[in-house]
């Protein structure tokens, strides 16, 4: 009961002090707002980059050619063995017999069509193929080697070299964007701690009086922490507005892609709400950390 009463008071005091020290609150809020806007932009950018790289990675396909001598049972065996390889996406194992491959190639090009027309089942030089997609693109070369070991598999191709380079490049892009986001969040915390320290410095006297009349550190801290959370929440409003209205506008304007239809943007709903929620939580947590670390200094008198 007493705890509840004190908590109620803390919340009331927190709100009161935001308005009583309005200019200082405004300083903290604008600092939080600006840094959160930057954080929001970098979060959205990094999400888009990783989304785009993942999409490309998903399209990577391993093609395994089966030896001509393979019987029907052997092909069935190969299929089962493929299913046992953990990195292979079980739903994405596609078998095409050589006549299917022939037909497909014929529809693709006029030249192929005329050349292949004369081939019948017996002298078709093409091979039966498996088209396989992997779960983790980074291990594609390892998976390809595993497939090669399966009996009656003649050749395995996945665009070696080129794909490996692409994957390494994507990996470093992802790492850089994540690093940037984390660095930005740390900078935000630092900036906000300092701004809140300034606002609390002006209330040093108030804190020392609280100590003198017998307030416990917990009692003193709580309103400041709630105030910090409230400031963080207020500071996240403008960035959230910019996310919710800005991103869909950008998306519409660019027709959903950057430069080429290959590089797709993430569609706005539910993405903007997820990012908004993240920004709000970051704002609140950062405000909380900022004010609690700032007030600690004055609790030693």
């Amino acid at each position: 009961m007493k705890m509840l009463r004190m908590l109620g008071r803390s919340i009331r005091d927190a709100f009161k002090s935001v308005f009583r020290n309005f200019s200082l609150s405004l300083a903290s809020i604008s600092c939080i707002t600006i840094t959160l806007i930057i954080v929001a932009i970098s979060i959205m950018a990094s999400y888009n980059v990783s989304n785009f790289t993942e999409e490309i990675e998903k399209d990577l396909t391993i093609v395994a050619f089966v030896e001509n001598s393979a019987t029907k049972e052997e092909i069935e065996n190969i299929k089962n063995e493929l299913k046992n390889i953990s990195n292979i996406n079980q739903k994405e194992i596609k078998y095409e017999s050589k006549s299917q491959v022939k037909q497909e190639m014929q529809t693709q090009s006029e030249i192929f069509n005329t050349v292949m027309e004369g081939w019948d089942e017996e002298d078709n030089p093409l091979k039966d193929t498996f088209q396989i997609k992997v779960k983790n693109a980074e291990e594609i070369s390892k998976t390809a080697k595993q497939i090669e070991k399966i009996e009656k598999i003649a050749i395995v191709r996945y665009g070696e070299g080129m794909v490996d380079k692409l994957i390494t490049a994507f990996d470093s892009i992802k790492k850089v964007t994540y690093g940037t986001v984390i660095a930005l969040i740390l900078v935000t915390i630092f900036l906000i701690i300092n701004t809140i320290k300034l606002t609390i410095y002006s209330r040093k006297r108030e804190i020392s009086i609280m100590r003198l009349v017998g307030a416990s550190n917990f009692t003193i801290k709580t309103p400041f922490i709630i105030e910090g959370m409230f400031l963080g929440l207020l500071g996240s409003l403008i960035p959230i507005g910019m996310i919710i209205f800005g991103y869909p506008a950008l998306y519409d304007r660019m027709n959903g892609y950057v430069f080429t239809p290959l590089v797709n943007l993430i569609s706005p709903t539910p993405f903007v709400y997820t990012v908004s929620l993240m920004i709000m939580i970051i704002g609140i947590i950062v405000g909380m950390i900022g004010s609690s670390s700032a007030v600690r200094k004055y609790l030693k008198v």
Binding site: K2, R5, M6, R9, R20, R205, E206, S208, I209, M210, R211, L212, V213, G214, A215, S216, N217, T219, I220, L299, K300, V301
Partner: protein, 232 residues
């Protein structure tokens, strides 16, 4: 029974100056004590150690059963709740009304609204400011502000009232009025009162126990003392 007990207390500040050398002192419950001495005598340091703004370098200080020298920073509030402290510069919150300033001391210890109201009005009545509850500190005279500070100090019925130069900023008439209020609290409630002062007139007039410090040492402790120029 002694409410304050100091044993071989020494206080040396970090910059090397020693404010108190080997001070032993007992103060009885319910007494009214003046602590006097010139500048640099250590009287303010002594006061600060009693409410643990400063820690002694050596020795033992017991205040109201609490070992102040060993009190952890996070537990200081337990000591402060037994004390009422009055300062020369009042230390009121400028943006809060008289009522809020006094109620503040009740709220931080988690009292109910009802209890707070009753006690705050009672305290303001004792200091004679019941008609100014809604004023802000800067609308009051120095004497009135000090009375608000006294009301805040006594609102929790503390065992002890520590006053550090309570009349330092006030004219003689106002000073006497303030001292009368403090004396009344001592008599009516049995609150132990310690007053650090260099106001000769008040000390001589009130005929209370007087502890004289000089250069960090106790030089005199008289039951009905006066302000002695030779010692101070």
């Amino acid at each position: 029974m002694d409410i304050i007990r100091l044993k071989n207390v020494k206080k040396q500040y970090k910059n090397g100056t020693t404010a108190i050398y080997d001070l032993s002192l007992n103060i009885e419950k319910g007494s009214f004590v003046f602590i006097i001495g010139g500048s640099g005598s250590g009287k303010s340091t002594l006061m600060k150690m009693l409410y643990r703004e400063e820690k002694p370098t050596k020795g033992q200080i017991i205040v109201g059963g609490l070992n102040v020298a060993k009190l952890r920073n996070s537990k200081v509030y337990k000591l402060r709740r037994k004390l009422g402290i009055v300062f020369q510069d009042y230390r009121l919150l400028p943006k809060q009304t008289v009522y809020e300033n006094v109620a503040f001391a009740m709220e931080v210890i988690g009292a109910t609204k009802q209890e707070t109201r009753v006690k705050v009005l009672k305290a303001l009545e004792i200091v004679g400011l019941k008609n100014k509850v809604h004023s802000y500190p800067d609308q009051l005279s120095g004497g009135e502000q000090q009375r608000v500070a006294i009301a805040r100090a006594i609102v929790n019925n503390p065992k002890m009232l520590l006053c550090d130069e309570p009349t330092g900023n006030l004219d003689p008439e106002m000073s006497i009025e303030i001292m009368k209020i403090i004396e009344k609290i001592n008599k009516d409630w049995g609150t132990t009162v310690l007053v650090v002062t260099h106001d000769k007139e008040i000390v001589n007039k009130m005929k209370k126990q007087v502890i004289t410090l000089k250069e960090g040492r106790l030089v005199n402790n008289k039951a009905k003392g006066t302000y002695d120029n030779e010692n101070a």
